[in-house]
Amino acid sequence: MKERVRLMNYQQYLLPVLLLPLACFLLLGLFGKKHLKNASGVIGTASMFAVTIISVLVAGRYFFADGKVDGVYQHLIAYKYNWLAFSPTLSIDMGAIVDPISMMMIVVVSFISLMVHIFSLGYMKGEERFTTYYAYLSLFTFSMLGLVLSSNIFQMYIFWELVGVSSFLLIGFYYNKPSAVVASKKAFMVTRFADFGFLIGILVLSFYGGTLDFNALIQRLTAPQSGEFVSITTASFLGISMLTWGLCLVFVGGAGKSAMFPLHIWLPDAMEGPTPVSALIHAATMVVAGVYLVARLFPVFAIDVPALQIVTWVGAISALVAAIIACTQTDIKRVLAYSTMSQIGYMMFALGISRYGGENGLGYTASLFHLFTHAFFKSLLFLGAGVIIHFVHSNDLKDMGGLRKLMPVTHIAFLVACLAIAGVPPFAGFFSKEEILTASFHSNKIIYAIALFTAVLTAFYMFRLYFSIFWRKEATVHGTHNADGTASMKIPLIVLMICSVGAGLVPITKMVTSDGVPLETHMDVLFSLVPIVLVLFAIFFAARMYKKENGSAGKMAVAFGSFYKAATKKFYVDEIYLFITRKVIFNLIGRPAAWIDRNIIDAFVNGVAATTARISGLIKGLQSGKVQTYALYFFSGIAGLAVLFIYLWK
């Protein structure tokens, strides 16, 4: 891992990538409401357009022109400012790291953000807080770009919190709606709890590593001879080395943001936000921050097998559990939310089974490849859902059906996205999923089985969704024209549809690898056939059940009995949390703390005052009730004591 600090001309353009959205946020936030009411959408979109162009140019230049030295992609630092120095060695530097994952991410983030900006021009039209909405979108984009460009772990934490707050603001955008307020609070608190782990993880790693800088930290903690490595691996707590502790704690933060089991409970509720926001934040970008974090620290994770194992199992369980729950939900956005969780679980365990370097790093590459393709088809699914909800005025599947004729563009787009996420060739999801399956097959057969089963479930529930929305029955909502929405809503759908077809052809394996060396992958036809056949079978099965209303879905539900019921209730995880927070924390810690303060500590203080007053009353035979008098006694008493004290001392 070589680091070269050099300021290449083109990398300076990363500064406007960050500053344009920030400027846009400040402009719209401070002056937008009064002066820019209707122009705000255009201003936001235009700045986002510029950001996207610059990001693509910089990333393209890095990947295809001069990112490689001797065939290896370099980690470069575009710029670096000392922002807050804790001590001579530990400081938060604001910088921009230029390496394969950060370059890939700025393209994904800015591109999806642009699509959502355009889509929202139509979707949010007439909204009272239109300007505020665009201000928040800009704030989010700024924070997310800052997060992926972070060159310092604390810098990442800063932007990590900022994306958290933008997510909070956008989930609670309809602040009059109590459910939106509750959902926004829940999202913030759960991720905050996870960030507590992240913070302690940073403290641990930086204490032993002696630095907060990503490159230096990775360098020191992966060199077996370095003093830092020796100290962090020999120090242990409860029999677990501090390295494992540090990494696992950092991973807790990642798991919270990425809605991994059991910290996933905020994600389905976060769907209370406007649908384009769900597409941007809760599907394509912010929720993959956890994957990005593990990928960023991957060389360190790779030398610590226990931590990687935790990553693997958390990912695998999340992928499976979410897929099962998704099969039973009836709210279109919630199905998509669980599907997001499931796909991120996929990325996570792919990282977990990977190792550092060469062929062993296939899981790493596959994970980020899937992150890349997933961003397109999942945001497409959400934007499509947005069009549908816009038209039907309901999130519930039972209010939908037969919409294919009314909204042809959305129909085709949604179908493409479903095929892509199900992993049907030649759509984007096929290529990335295929690599994850290959990687897991070669490292852990149980994980492979889970991955395969999840893939089948994914195909099933996605086509359950598709058939329920577009087929099943004749449309109940009768056709006004233009159900597909305005042009600004159609264009992003079409663009993302093209991406969902073509993104699999982008040679990510040659660009994003664990050690920077391009990876040669070959497809084994026989191996790929197994998942393809199973997936097609699942789609066929979904078609039989949901294409026409025939009661077979109900029978299935009955057949699964209480398991089905548990899955619809999301396995009661929410209830467990509610019990712990409401009953245990509020009643057993909060309430007693407040009570003790008033009735014991304060009562004691009052008691002392009362006693003093009574004694002084006895002595002086009067109780003036004047503070000056009390103070005088008190004062002179203490002073007398002091003199006595000093006298005795000498």
Binding site: L84, G172, N176, F586, A594, I601, F634
Partner: protein
């Protein structure tokens, strides 16, 4: 520059106010006084920066005049980066406090007189380098609070005023014993002289607790914090701002400048107690806040929790953590003043502070609601605002203390960021968001003076949050001097 101006200006303001007629004159004079103070402080910052970078001594702008010969009491003033940071905080809060009290009809002359007196006490305290002078100004700052709460307060104001005055008097008394102990050993009240001596360990051990607990009471040291909720909730808005924004900082500053700096060995021996109490205050304060239903009680209890970070930073005795403690004092001062200002604005319109009775205020009073939300976000440590910088510095510094038990304290303190998020979001969610209570349809948004007050404080918070290097460059060299002494004197 003559530091005495910082005492003269508020003093003259106070006198001038007495000769004014009517609210309009009174507030104009007060505002002018506050503006002059801020201008002085800005000037001082620039002058300090120039002299400091050209290699000045530890304290700049010193002046030393004999005051009372027999006891060797001098009027000795001078500032370093820490006191300058505190003075800047004071000037900002005074200006904002004056602005939010713009329409105080009741006994306005006396009200603004007392505010000016209070700020004089605070400035005097922060610039003093003589323990007796320092004590004198500490008392000047206590008395007005009693009257401000007792006369202009709300709720059970007599009880609260009495409680606050008595507890702070008790604190002062303890401080006095501590100072006397130092004096009889060193035969001097001069901070610089005493810092150069070595006080015997046994003496330190006897008098450190007096000084530390005495000052600690001012800054809500557990379990002597119970004046905070009552005092704050009964006080009028400006008094709450002064109380939490400035007065509580007198205590933290004293703990550092007097107790720790002058008696470093004792600070080391008692560090574990300080850390224990601070950690309890942080966690327990946060949980107690979670159960409050009155906005002012929420902010008061949260102050107990946040001031715990100051004491934790001091108790951990590493350079970084002490830096963090100073940062937290400034940050908490600005943030809590902003919070009280916002609560005051809400209360003056809705006449309630119960979060259950509020709701949806964002719709009718967007400016005030935004201010409230910003204060909340700063309180829960959002990056970009001052709270984040201060808390992270405390955490980072505390973790550098290698004692395993202190690590647990740090982890517990870090856990408070979760609890803080819970109570802040609860308060914001219920009062600012949610459906609008129909009876609040006609509320008016902030007036110009309220906007200006909020603007002044938010500017401070954002500058510190976005460009923390400015303020760390100011205070770090000064804490280094203190900590070098503290760390070398330990055997």
């Amino acid at each position: 520059m003559n530091l005495t101006l910082l005492i003269i200006v508020p003093f003259l303001t106070a006198i001038a106010v007495l000769f004014c007629k009517g609210l309009k004159q009174v507030r104009t004079v007060s505002l002018a006084g506050a503006a002059v103070q801020l201008a002085l402080v800005v000037f001082l910052l620039i002058a300090y920066w120039q002299q400091h970078t050209s290699g000045g001594s530890q304290f700049l702008f010193e002046s030393n005049v004999m005051w009372f010969k027999p006891l060797n009491i001098n009027y000795h003033v001078g500032i370093d980066g820490i006191s300058l940071a505190m003075i800047t905080l004071t000037a900002l809060v005074v200006l904002a406090g004056t602005l939010v009290s713009w329409s105080t009809e009741k006994l306005s002359k006396e009200f603004f007189f007392l505010l000016a007196l209070l700020s004089m006490g605070a400035y005097g305290f922060f610039i003093s380098l003589d323990l007796f002078t320092m004590f004198f100004f500490l008392e000047v700052a206590v008395v007005p609070k009693f009257l401000l709460i007792g006369i202009w307060g709300s709720g059970k104001k007599e009880y609260s005023a009495m409680k606050l005055a008595l507890m702070l008097m008790a604190g002062s008394a303890l401080v006095f014993v501590g100072l006397a102990g130092i004096y009889f050993q060193a035969n001097s009240f001069d901070v610089i002289q005493i810092a150069g001596m070595h006080i015997p360990l046994s003496v330190q051990k006897t008098f450190f607790p007096f000084a530390f607990i005495g000052f600690g009471i001012f800054t809500a040291l557990f379990p002597f914090h119970t004046w905070v909720p009552d005092g704050h909730s009964s006080a009028p808005t400006a008094a709450s701002m002064f109380l939490a924004g400035i007065s509580m900082k007198l205590g933290g500053y004293g703990c550092l400048r007097v107790a720790t700096y002058l008696m470093p060995d004792a600070a080391h021996s008692y560090a574990w107690i300080i850390i224990l109490l601070a950690t309890i205050a942080i966690i327990y304060g946060a949980f107690a806040t979670m159960m409050q239903t009155d906005l002012k009680y929420i902010n008061a209890y949260s102050s107990v929790s946040h001031c715990g970070f100051v004491l934790l930073g001091i108790g951990m005795l590493t350079k970084t953590s002490v830096n963090g403690a100073v940062l937290q004092m400034v940050s908490h001062g600005l943030m809590t003043a902003l919070f009280f200002a916002a609560i005051g604005m809400i209360y003056s319109r809705t006449h309630t502070r119960q979060i259950a009775q509020l709701g949806g205020l964002l719709k009718v009073t967007p400016f005030i609601s935004t201010v409230f939300t910003i204060a909340g976000l700063c309180s829960l440590g959002l990056p970009g605002f001052s709270g984040f910088v201060a808390e992270m510095t405390v955490f980072m510094g505390s973790w550098q203390n290698p004692d395993a038990w202190y690590r647990f304290a740090t982890i517990l303190a870090c856990a408070s960021i979760v609890v803080t998020a819970v109570y802040i979001l609860r308060a914001t969610g219920r009062s600012i968001m949610g459906p609008l209570n129909a009876s609040y349809n006609q509320l008016t948004d902030a007036s110009w003076n309220e906007k200006l007050a909020a603007g002044v404080l938010i500017t401070g918070i954002v500058i510190m949050g976005v460009a923390p290097f400015l303020i760390t460059k100011l205070i770090a060299p000064s804490t280094d001097v203190i900590m070098n002494k503290v760390l070398t004197m330990v055997k």
